[in-house]
């Protein structure tokens, strides 16, 4: 007999250390990639700033001011060192520091994505579970069918449809714009409701199908029969023994979806005129503000890595077999 190692503390600590190390290392690699990619893009910030009629001397002078005349490795270390201290540099276009802008916008995007995810979960967990439990009757099949349609709809289209129904026709909600929470929770909520729904409905439809199949799989498990043999009803057995087991595959999908939502948010922010990271990214691209774009992309990439990290840790907490 191999001695069981029941203590969770025994294995968890080194695991966490390892995971954090992996997170930091992959973030550093991502920073190199983001920097290299931006450096390879054609277009010199100094030339862009001065226009086509600038003298070579003026361009060289501005390059020196921007620091873009230094070798790429030096510039990378300068930029990355700044990142570690929360300094994203200063925009070549607007001369404004980039860090505070990102911080400002990040809040809006996080609220948007978190709200969208909450809507998706609130929809998918009950509906998916219901569809699994009632997979043999018409209502369960109907849920599957509707979720199938939902998958086919892109988030921005859902957003436009919502605007048409609730803002244009019913005039119940504002069609766009943003009011900070500090200026009134009611208005804040009214402005976020539709963006949340347009992100959440679509992701919720996808998630519903995953929840359904995860619950269906679990319902066939022997340990649910064991639970019933102990004297639990089928519903009780599913609650007590099924849902946590079913959540393991769902968490995988959730992590992937969060990353998708982050990208989806870029578009939805445009549709609803929300001052989020996506909006900042698009205006950075439009204004050829390369350093700003670089900063925003880095934050988005780091966010995806962080999500993966959280998913990994969640697995670890959920499933003792991984410890």
């Amino acid at each position: 007999m191999t001695p069981p190692n029941p203590g969770p503390a025994g294995a968890a600590a080194p695991y966490l250390v390892k995971r954090v190390a992996v997170l930091l290392a992959s973030t550093a690699v991502a920073a190199v990639a983001v920097f290299a990619f931006m450096a390879l893009l054609p277009g010199d910030p100094a030339e862009i700033a001065l226009g086509v009629n600038a003298t070579p001397e003026a361009v060289a002078e501005l390059r020196r001011q921007f620091g873009t005349d230094r070798p790429p490795a030096v510039r990378f270390l300068d930029w990355f060192g700044g990142l570690l201290q929360g300094d994203f540099g200063t925009s070549y276009v607007t001369s404004a520091p980039i860090g505070p802008q990102i911080a400002d916008r990040l809040g809006v995007t996080v609220v948007l994505v978190a709200g969208g995810m909450a809507v998706a979960l609130a929809l998918a967990v009950p509906l998916g579970t219901f569809a699994a439990v009632h997979h043999r009757n018409p209502l369960g099949a109907a849920i599957s069918a509707v979720s199938q349609i939902g998958i086919a709809v892109p988030a921005f289209l859902a957003g436009i449809l919502l605007v048409f129904v609730f803002a244009v026709r019913a005039q119940a909600l504002p069609s766009g714009g943003y009011v900070p929470l500090a200026d009134g929770p009611g208005e804040w909520l009214r402005h976020l409701l539709m963006p949340w729904l347009s992100l959440g409905l679509v992701q919720g439809a996808v998630l519903t199908r995953y929840v359904r199949s995860a619950v269906l799989d679990v319902m066939r498990e022997d340990y649910l029969r064991t639970a019933r043999a102990k004297g639990r009803g089928s519903t009780g057995a599913l609650w007590r023994h099924g849902l946590r087991n079913a959540s393991i595959p769902v968490v995988t999908v959730l992590g992937l979806q969060l990353a998708t939502l982050l990208i989806g948010a870029v578009v939805v922010e445009r549709v609803f005129v929300l001052p989020g990271l996506g909006d900042l990214l698009l205006s950075g691209v439009a204004g050829r503000d390369l350093l700003l774009v670089q900063g925003v992309v880095m934050v988005l990439v780091a966010a995806v890595l962080l999500i993966n990290f959280v998913v990994d840790v969640a697995y670890h907490l959920l499933d003792p077999r991984l410890r």
Partner: protein, 339 residues
């Protein structure tokens, strides 16, 4: 204590178990034997009310004063795990992988009204009772940290936790290593109250049970005291089964039952065994009833009720006799039984 009458199990209009009747006295050990697909497991699952979706059982089954068939799950819940319990074939998947073993044993007690703290303590005692080493430590382990044999012991601990009157074991050792099987069987026969033991292993049933029911094609084809059925099988199927399990001298062909078990719903009418039976005659197209032949010597001090005169029925002729719902005595359903 357990009385089953006319148990019939159907799925999509196909009869998987047909008119099975038997009873179990308190403390009695009965074996249910037969090939895969003979309906043994379905019989057991229908008593527990654990048939898969789309499979239904009709007939009557009573445990003490409680009906087991045709009652809502809310009523059965109270019996399952407290007055009757079941150990399944596959120990590797029968436990929840995310829950500590001790908690899974304690759960069956808290479900039936025992306070949580007390249930936890008793869970450790039970793990000790099924001879698991270091029970207190093991209670904190997760199922994947245990071997198959250990997990099956945990299942047994769960089954015994509330002191049930009836234990149903469905091939509890089939998935285990041979070396572990023996220990597990010894343990079951030591701790079991009344036992319904399902197996296809004749040697196992011989070591565990006092009485056997032989199933084929969803029917009980022969039943009776183990000694009698095993030393003097009457049904041709039982005879073939025993012949196939006997050790044969080196170099001789293993005796087999010709053909294979038909798929559910494809058994012949009349005697279900007739398409594989070397002795089948046109008589076999009529369904034989499970009857107690009068030529069987009644056990001393146990005269057959209603019929004291043992007569020899002519060979090859239908055996008269009362249909037996209990199977206490040697009975079989065959038109031309082995002598």
């Amino acid at each position: 204590m357990l009385k089953v009458e006319g148990l019939t199990v159907r799925a999509d209009g196909v009869e998987l178990v047909h008119d099975v009747s038997f009873s179990l006295a308190p403390g009695e050990r009965v074996g249910l034997i037969g090939e895969s697909g003979s309906g043994k497991s379905l019989t057991a699952l229908s008593l527990m009310g654990l048939l898969p979706e789309g499979v239904t059982a009709t007939g009557r089954a009573r445990l003490g004063g409680d009906d087991l068939l045709g009652v809502p799950e809310s009523r059965l819940k109270g019996l399952r795990g407290s007055r009757m319990s079941m150990v399944f074939q596959e120990p590797m998947t029968a436990l929840n992988p995310l829950m500590r073993v001790g908690a899974q044993v304690a759960e069956v007690m808290t479900l039936h009204g025992r306070p949580r703290g007390e249930a936890r303590e008793r869970a450790v005692e039970l793990l000790d009772r099924v001879r698991l080493p270091e029970p207190a430590r093991l209670a904190r382990a997760y199922p994947h940290q245990l071997s198959g044999g250990q997990r099956q012991r945990v299942m047994l601990a769960i089954a015994l936790a509330n002191g049930p009157g009836l234990l149903i074991c469905d091939e509890p050792t089939t998935a285990l290593d041979v070396t572990v099987q023996k220990q597990m069987l010894d343990l079951i026969s030591e701790v079991a109250p009344a036992l319904l033991f399902i197996t296809h292993d004749l040697a196992v049933v011989a070591s565990m049970c006092e009485r056997v029911l032989v199933m084929y094609g969803g029917r009980v084809v022969e039943s009776g005291p183990l000694r009698e059925v095993f030393t003097r099988p009457r049904h041709r199927y039982t005879q073939g089964l025993l012949a196939a399990s006997r050790l044969t001298p080196r170099g001789t062909r293993l005796p087999v039952i010709e053909g294979s078990v038909p798929a559910a719903g494809h058994f012949p009418g009349g005697c279900v065994f007739r398409n594989r039976c070397p002795h089948a005659t046109p008589t076999c197209e009529t369904e034989p009833q499970l009857t107690e032949p009068q030529l069987t010597d009644p056990a001393p001090g146990d005269p057959a009720p209603g019929d004291p005169a043992p007569g020899d029925p002519a060979p090859g002729e239908p055996t008269p006799g009362e249909p037996t719902p209990t199977g206490d005595r040697h009975a079989f359903a065959c038109w031309h039984p082995a002598e």
